[in-house]
C-alpha cells in the first residue's frame, strides 16, 4: 500500500523544522525512549498462497523522541523493521507531530494517531486508518492503528470539548497481502488491477469533528466525518467480461454518537453511527457500499481481582437493501441486510500483574463465522516481555468476514525490550 513505508517529503520538512526549533534553545527538554522487538508467526492450518509457512518474521526497532520548549512540543515515533519474509528493511514514521498548547485550545500538526469511539476491535466513529494485516498476522495490537496526516485543533470552552481534524493526505486501510493471506476475491481471473487514491485537494480534504462532555456522570461524544471509505470498491472496465479492475475509495460521511458510564456494577457503552455512502445515495450500485446504520452495545465488568470480562454486540444494517439486491450481478454472493456479531474478551492478570492471560473471540451472528485469539503475556522484567498467542479463523462462507480467513490460522510470538 502506498504511504505505508514511505516518509512523505512534507513530513521530512516538518521534522527538520522541529529539530531546528529545538536545537536553537539549549533549554529544550529531550527524552528518548523506544524498543527492539522480535515478532514471528507460523502457519498452523495451511501454507501461504505464496507457498511460505510463516505470516510474519521480523525484528523491529522503535525510537520515540520528545522535546519541549515553552508552549511547543515535538514528538516523533519511528520504526525500522527487518522483514525476513520479503527480505527487506522498512522505515516507517508512525507518528511525527508539532504541538502547540494554549490555555483553552491546542493544535497538533503532522502524522498522528486518533482513536475515537468505544468499540473493542469494531469501529463506528473511529473512521481513521487501520492495518488489518498487522492485526491478523500477530503483531502487537497498537499496530492495528495507523496515523493520519493532518492537523488537529482542540478547543475547550466550558460548554464542551471539541476536536477538529483536517486530513489533506488520504491514508487507506492496509488489508492482508494476497501473497501471505488466503482471502476471498470475487474476480480472481482479473489480475490487471490499479488503485486510485483520492488526490490531495481542498475538496478531498477529510474533515472529522468530535464534541464531548460529561452528561450526568456519563461520557457523551458526538461525531461527524466527511471523507472516504478506507476500504476500496472495485470498478471493472466491463460488467460482462472484465479484463481490468480499478480499486478506488468512494466518498463517505459518518454521523454518530457514543455514551459510556458506570452502570450494572460495570461500564456500559453505547455507540451509533449513520454511514452515508455519498457516491451511492440510492444504493443502486452494488460495487459501492450501501449506506448503513451501525450500532454497538458493550458491557465490561470486573468479576474478581484482576479478572475482567467485556462483551459487545455490533450490528450494521444496509439502508437501501432493495436496490442493492435488485442490481447485484448474478454470481456475486449477496450480503445480508443485517451484518452483526458478538464479541467477548476475558482478561486475567496473575503474579502481581506480570502475567496476562487473555481470550478474545468474535462470533458472526449473521454470517456464523468466528475469530478466536487466546494469548499469554509475561513481563520477565520491567524491560522485557514476551507474548505467545494464536489467531484462529473459520466458519461461515468463503466470502464472509472471518470465514474467508479460514486457512490463515497461525501461532505468533512477540518479544520486546523496552527502554
Amino acid at each position: 500500500m502506498a504511504g505505508m513505508s514511505t516518509i512523505r517529503p512534507w513530513f521530512a520538512a516538518l521534522l527538520a523544522a522541529s529539530f531546528l526549533l529545538n536545537a536553537e534553545n539549549g533549554k529544550a527538554e529531550l527524552s528518548l525512549h523506544g524498543f527492539v522487538q522480535g515478532n514471528y508467526a507460523l502457519n498452523t492450518a495451511a501454507s501461504n498462497p505464496d507457498g511460505r509457512d510463516s505470516k510474519l518474521a521480523e525484528e523491529r526497532a522503535q525510537l520515540k523522541l520528545e522535546a519541549d520548549q515553552g508552549p511547543f512540543s515535538f514528538f516523533v515515533k519511528t520504526d525500522l523493521a527487518w522483514d525476513h519474509l520479503d527480505d527487506k528493511e522498512d522505515l516507517e514514521l508512525r507518528e511525527g507531530t508539532i504541538n502547540y498548547t494554549a490555555s483553552s485550545w491546542d493544535l497538533k500538526l503532522g502524522r498522528q494517531m486518533v482513536t475515537w469511539g468505544l468499540g473493542d476491535l469494531v469501529f463506528i466513529n473511529d473512521v481513521f486508518p487501520k492495518d488489518y494485516e498487522a492485526f491478523f498476522s500477530g503483531r502487537p495490537l497498537e499496530y492495528l492503528k495507523k496515523g493520519v496526516d493532518g492537523v488537529k485543533i482542540g478547543l475547550y470552552p466550558d460548554v464542551a470539548s471539541f476536536e477538529v481534524i483536517a486530513i489533506p493526505l488520504f491514508t487507506a486501510n492496509h488489508f492482508p497481502d494476497s501473497g501471505r493471506f488466503w482471502l476471498y476475491d470475487p474476480l480472481p481471473g482479473v489480475t490487471n488491477r490499479q488503485t486510485d487514491e483520492p488526490d490531495s485537494s481542498l475538496d478531498n480534504t477529510e474533515v472529522a469533528v468530535r464534541a464531548y462532555r460529561d452528561l450526568a456522570g456519563l461520557d457523551l461524544s458526538l461525531y461527524g466525518y466527511r471523507g472516504f471509505y478506507r476500504q476500496p470498491a472495485m470498478l471493472p472496465d466491463s460488467a460482462d467480461a472484465p479484463t481490468r479492475l480499478t480499486l478506488w475509495y468512494p466518498k463517505l460521511a459518518v454521523y454518530g454518537a457514543s455514551l459510556q458510564g458506570s452502570a450494572l456494577d460495570g461500564v456500559v457503552s453505547l455507540e451509533v453511527g449513520y454511514y452515508d455512502s455519498r457516491d451511492d445515495r440510492d444504493g443502486g450500485d452494488p460495487m459501492i457500499p450501501n449506506s448503513q446504520a451501525r450500532l454497538l452495545i458493550g458491557y465490561q465488568r470486573q468479576f474478581w481481582e484482576d479478572f475482567t470480562v467485556s462483551v459487545q454486540y455490533y450490528g450494521e444494517r444496509m439502508l437501501d437493501y432493495g436496490n442493492y439486491t435488485a442490481t447485484l450481478p448474478p454470481g456475486m454472493p449477496a450480503e445480508k441486510r443485517l451484518h452483526d456479531l458478538i464479541s467477548v474478551r476475558l482478561t486475567q492478570l496473575l503474579m502481581h500483574q506480570t502475567v496476562k492471560l487473555s481470550l478474545f473471540a468474535f462470533r458472526g451472528l449473521s454470517s456464523a463465522d468466528y475469530f478466536i485469539n487466546p494469548e499469554i503475556k509475561y513481563n520477565f522484567t520491567d524491560h522485557i516481555w514476551g507474548a505467545l498467542g494464536v489467531n484462529l479463523f473459520g466458519g461461515g462462507e468463503p466470502w464472509t468476514q472471518f470465514g474467508q480467513l479460514d486457512r490463515n490460522d497461525s501461532i505468533y510470538f512477540q518479544t520486546r525490550y523496552e527502554f
Binding site: 525512549h33 494517531m113 482542540g154 459510556q260 458506570s262 465490561q300 470486573q302 467485556s310 500483574q353 516481555w385
Partner: protein
Amino acid sequence: MKRLALLIMFLAACLASSALAASPEEIVQKSQAAFFYPGKDFKARVMMKLISANGQERLREMTLLRLNTGAAGGEQKYFMYFFQPAEVKNMTFMVFKYPAKDDDRWLFIPAINMVRRIAMQDKQASFVGSDFTYEDVSGRDIADDSHELLREEVLNGKKCFVIKSTPKKADSAGYGHKLAWIDKATWLPVQEEYYDRAGTAVRVFTAEAVQEVKGFATITRRTMKNLQSGHRTEVSYVSQDYNVGLEGSLFSERFLKQPPKKWIE
C-alpha cells in the same frame, strides 16, 4: 523557638487528651482525614518498589495528584502519570472517588492515543500489581467496618491507639479484620496488620518515615508486606507538596492525553 516548641507540645498534649475521649469511629475518622485528605490538594513523585520473596525487584515510578472536592471522607479526584516501567511510560490514570458508590476510572493508553473507562468494582484489587490495594491508596469507607478501641500502647516510641476494624459485610473486604496502631500525635497509622477470616496475619503495613510538609504530617516511606508470599512493596515519596493549586479542569480527557509538565514533573 523554645516558646514555639513549648506551644506545639502544649497543643499536641491538648489534642492527645481530647483524643482520649474520642470514640473509635472518631479516631478512625481523624486518622483517615490525616492520612488521605490533608490539604486542599496534594502532589507527590512516588517510587514504588515491588520486591519478590527471592529478591527480584520491579519499579513503578509515578506522579500522584489528588484534589479534594468534598470534605474529609468525601469525594476526591486522583490523577496518576507513570514514568516507569518503560512499557507504561506516558500512561495516565484518573479516578473520581465517591464514598458511597463505585468510583469512575479512566485510563489513557498512549500507543493508540485512547482514553477508556475501565471497570473496577473491586477496591481490594491490587494497585498496579503491588501489595497495596486501591483502598490502601485512597481509603476505605468508615461505615463499611465496625471499629473498636482495643487499647493504647507505645509502638516505635509513639503513643498509639490500637483500633480493630471488622468489615460489616464479610465479603466487602479482602480481610477478616484489621488492627491499626494510630499515632496520637499525628493521627497517622504507624502500623497496620491485616488478618484473614481464620485469624492469621496476612499483610503488614509499616510507616517508616514521617515528615512535616506545610504543617501536615506525611508518611514519606511505607511498606506493605505479604506475610504469606513474602512479597513486599516499598513506597517512598521523592517529593511531595500540599495546596499547590490543582484545578478541577486538570482532571479531564484533554489532560489525560497531554498531562501538563508543570503538574507531572
